[in-house]
């Protein structure tokens, strides 16, 4: 059976439509992530920092502010132990966040970080962070969660203050689902 002109154009258009669906579901989300990572838009911080230690720039002092927010109806008490620290670029600094689960059930939380201003995101390195993992807390339990970071000496000169914000999400249900899946 030969393909006539109408079948040919129909086939092309169907392929185009399917292609656009694939583009939307499978390409747009990763492209968006890559774009945000390359440009620093969205204030997403990088994963764990593996770079070499750098010389400390004693001349400069950067103010680091911490913000802790609960998402939606997340009932945990969540706050930075120190709301503000001053660091020299290149210096390794450890701080802690306090969290308490006041409810009567065991819960799991995930903290999602965000950096302001956007152009500082590339220069804020975390060597250790509680946000790299889910944080389980039993009913009524409290904890101090650690963060170790280095501000890169390459940080643009215009930046004098960096605000690091954590939003705490309740992921108990998702954690249970994946635990069940792992057991099966």
């Amino acid at each position: 059976m030969s393909i006539n002109a109408t079948q040919k154009i129909t086939l092309k258009l169907v392929v185009a439509a399917v292609g656009m669906f694939v583009f939307a579901v499978f390409l747009m989300p990763p492209l968006y992530d890559v774009f945000c990572e390359l440009t620093g838009i969205g204030g997403k911080t990088k994963g764990q920092y593996q770079g070499a230690t750098v010389a400390v720039d004693g001349e400069r002092e950067i103010k680091i502010q911490f913000v802790a927010t609960n998402n939606g109806a997340m009932p945990w008490d969540f706050s930075p132990v120190e709301y503000q620290v001053r660091v020299h670029p290149g210096e390794k600094k450890a701080v802690e966040f306090y969290a308490r689960n006041p409810t009567a059930r065991d819960m799991v939380a995930q903290a999602v970080p965000n950096i302001t201003p956007n152009n500082a995101a590339d220069f804020f390195h975390k060597t250790e962070c509680f946000c790299f993992n889910r944080q389980p807390l039993k009913a009524g339990e409290e904890t101090k969660m650690g963060l170790v970071f280095i501000v890169d000496p390459e940080l643009p000169a215009s930046v004098t203050t960096i605000t690091l914000s954590y939003t705490l999400f309740d992921v108990t249900d998702a954690a249970e689902t994946s635990a069940l899946a792992a057991n099966n």
């Binding site: 002109a5 109408t6 154009i9 129909t10 258009l13 169907v14 185009a16 439509a17 399917v18 292609g19 656009m20 669906f21 583009f23 939307a24 579901v25 747009m28 989300p29 968006y32 992530d33 945000c36 440009t39 838009i41 969205g42 998402n71 939606g72 995930q110 999602v112 956007n118 939003t167 999400f169 309740d170 992921v171 998702a174 689902t177 994946s178």
Partner: protein, 517 residues
């Protein structure tokens, strides 16, 4: 059997004739228009006075959401597909659409899509309540369980739309009569060709967006969930990558319609035909690269804001070319003002007004003030209603004698136009004032200082609603008892192949292709 329509319900259920399918599309979209209109009346009745009087806030949210969804996907889009079904084959000298069976399928899945969507009104949890833009996480984490019906409804509606577009493209590219070159195509055909390409490109993106929602809600993925590493702003990017071309999908066929009507009643050929074609293509191209102007308040970097602001303003150039051409077509023409012409002129004036408020919204720093206010509501009703719906009303009056062989009552037509025109402006001009004064959209209640203009707006909305019932009456009374109008050229200034056919247009037309000189 081969020469006439089948008898009974089978004629419609198994329809493959482009005129029958076009008629079904038109009636279906009008039914949806009345349903979406009823929701609008409920909204305006609740907003008639401050405080809660008629409905609960939760139901109000469902009404604003369903009004938007039904009007965009149920009323405007299918009505223009219906018009394309009727007119494209007649205007290019084709015997039918290129894919008649797919045509049947693309129409008949629509009622099921909208039944899924509308059935949520009667379910526990209620209808979608997250706005027609269904931003995540409102439409995922915080949505009622009925959101899954909404998702599958959108899938079906999208599939219908894609099939309709493929059909229209295949028809225009392959079934033109000998001598009907691309640059001789009537403008309605041109605008639909470009619209159909837009639909094929972006309806799958919408389907993708709701599919990702479905996965996030039911299968534990985190496309739009920040807790799992996703990003709700990504949803907005994907939605508006569909949503902005969608705006032009709605308005381009309307441009095509008035490019047919204005020359007829100016008794002059359309001014600047080829510039119209290029302007339409330019608008279609630009519509793909401006989407984030809907998202100026998401905290975009300044470079992004500037780019999207300037690119958006650029759309005013090809649109201005079109408006210029319509006005120049009328300039020194022998104008008469029959009902279709009144609607067409109203489109030129009111759409331009809506275009200007669009330019105001394009300015990023100003938009941050106007965002999500009634100013935006006023703006997009000027382009959607006064642009698309008015031109659709004009199109029905214009081609009704060709479809039915009967003439509508001119006095009733003009009366409907003026009630619609005045009612529309009374309803939506005040919304601009309300928005500038700071009234946010999508709330069931408002502060006392907004009372007066809201009451005025509601009165206008009721007037506009009444005009639509009159429109229904006009169409039905024309079909039932209109004066016979059997000459080929209903309007003596009309050009084009459809006016070489008898009225009413026979069941089969152009079985032998006409020769186009």
């Amino acid at each position: 059997m081969a020469h006439g329509p089948a008898k009974g319900i089978g004629r419609w259920l198994f329809a493959t004739n482009h005129k029958d399918i076009g008629t079904m599309y038109l009636w279906f979209s009008f039914a949806m228009f009345l349903l979406g209109g009823a929701f609008a009346m409920i909204i305006r009745a609740e907003l008639f006075a401050p405080g809660m009087q008629l409905i609960k806030p939760e139901f109000f949210n469902q009404m604003t959401t369903m009004h938007g969804l039904i009007m965009v996907f149920g009323a405007i889009m299918p009505s223009f597909v219906g018009l394309a079904n009727w007119m494209v084959p007649l205007q290019i000298g084709a015997p039918d659409m290129a894919l008649p069976r797919m045509n049947n399928l693309s129409f008949w899945i629509l009622p099921f899509g909208f039944a899924l969507l509308a059935s949520t009104l009667f379910m526990e949890g209620g209808a979608p309540n997250f706005g027609w833009t269904f931003y995540a996480p409102l439409s995922t984490t915080y949505a009622p369980d009925t959101v899954n019906f909404f998702i599958f409804g959108v899938h079906i509606i999208g599939a219908s739309s894609i099939m309709g577009s493929i059909n229209i493209i295949a028809t225009i590219l392959n079934l033109r009569a000998p001598g009907m070159t691309m640059m001789k195509l009537p403008l309605f055909v041109w605008t639909w060709l470009i619209t159909a390409f837009l639909l094929v490109a972006v309806m799958p993106v919408l389907a993708g967006a709701v599919t990702m929602m479905l996965m996030d809600i039911n299968f534990g993925t985190s496309f739009f969930d920040a807790a799992g590493g996703g990003d709700p702003v990504l949803f907005q990017h994907i939605f508006w990558f569909f949503g902005h071309p969608e705006v032009y999908i709605i308005i381009l066929p309307a441009f095509g319609v008035i490019s047919e009507i204005i020359p007829t009643f100016s008794r002059k050929p359309l001014f600047g035909y080829s510039s119209m074609v290029y302007a339409t293509s330019a608008i279609a191209f630009l519509s793909f690269i401006v989407w984030a102007h809907h998202m100026f308040t998401t905290g975009m970097p300044i470079a992004g804001e500037l780019y999207f602001m300037y690119a958006t303003m650029l759309i005013a150039v090809p649109t201005g070319v079109k408006v210029f051409n319509w006005i120049t077509t009328m300039f020194r023409g022998s104008l008469t003002f029959e009902t279709p012409m009144l609607f067409a002129i109203a489109v030129v004036i009111l759409f331009t007004f809506g275009g200007f408020t669009g330019l105001m919204l394009a300015v990023a720093p100003a938009d941050i003030q106007y965002h999500d206010s009634y100013f935006v509501v006023g703006h997009f009703h000027y382009v959607m209603v006064a642009g698309a719906v008015f031109s659709m009303s004009g199109a029905v009056y214009y081609w009704l004698p060709k479809w039915t062989g009967k003439m509508y009552d001119e006095t009733m037509g003009k009366m409907q136009f003026w009630i619609a025109f005045v009612g529309f402006n009374i309803a939506f001009i005040p919304q601009h004032f309300l928005g500038l004064a700071g009234m946010p959209r999508r709330y069931a209640d408002y502060a006392l200082q907004f009372s007066d203009w809201n009451m005025v707006s509601s009165i206008g909305a009721f007037m506009y609603g009444a005009a639509q019932l009159m429109f229904l009456y006009n169409v039905i009374s024309t079909i039932v008892s209109g004066k016979p109008s059997t000459e080929e050229k209903t309007w003596e200034g009309a050009q084009g192949l459809e006016w070489t056919l008898p009225s009413p247009a026979p069941f089969h037309t152009f079985s032998t292709p006409p020769n186009v000189k």
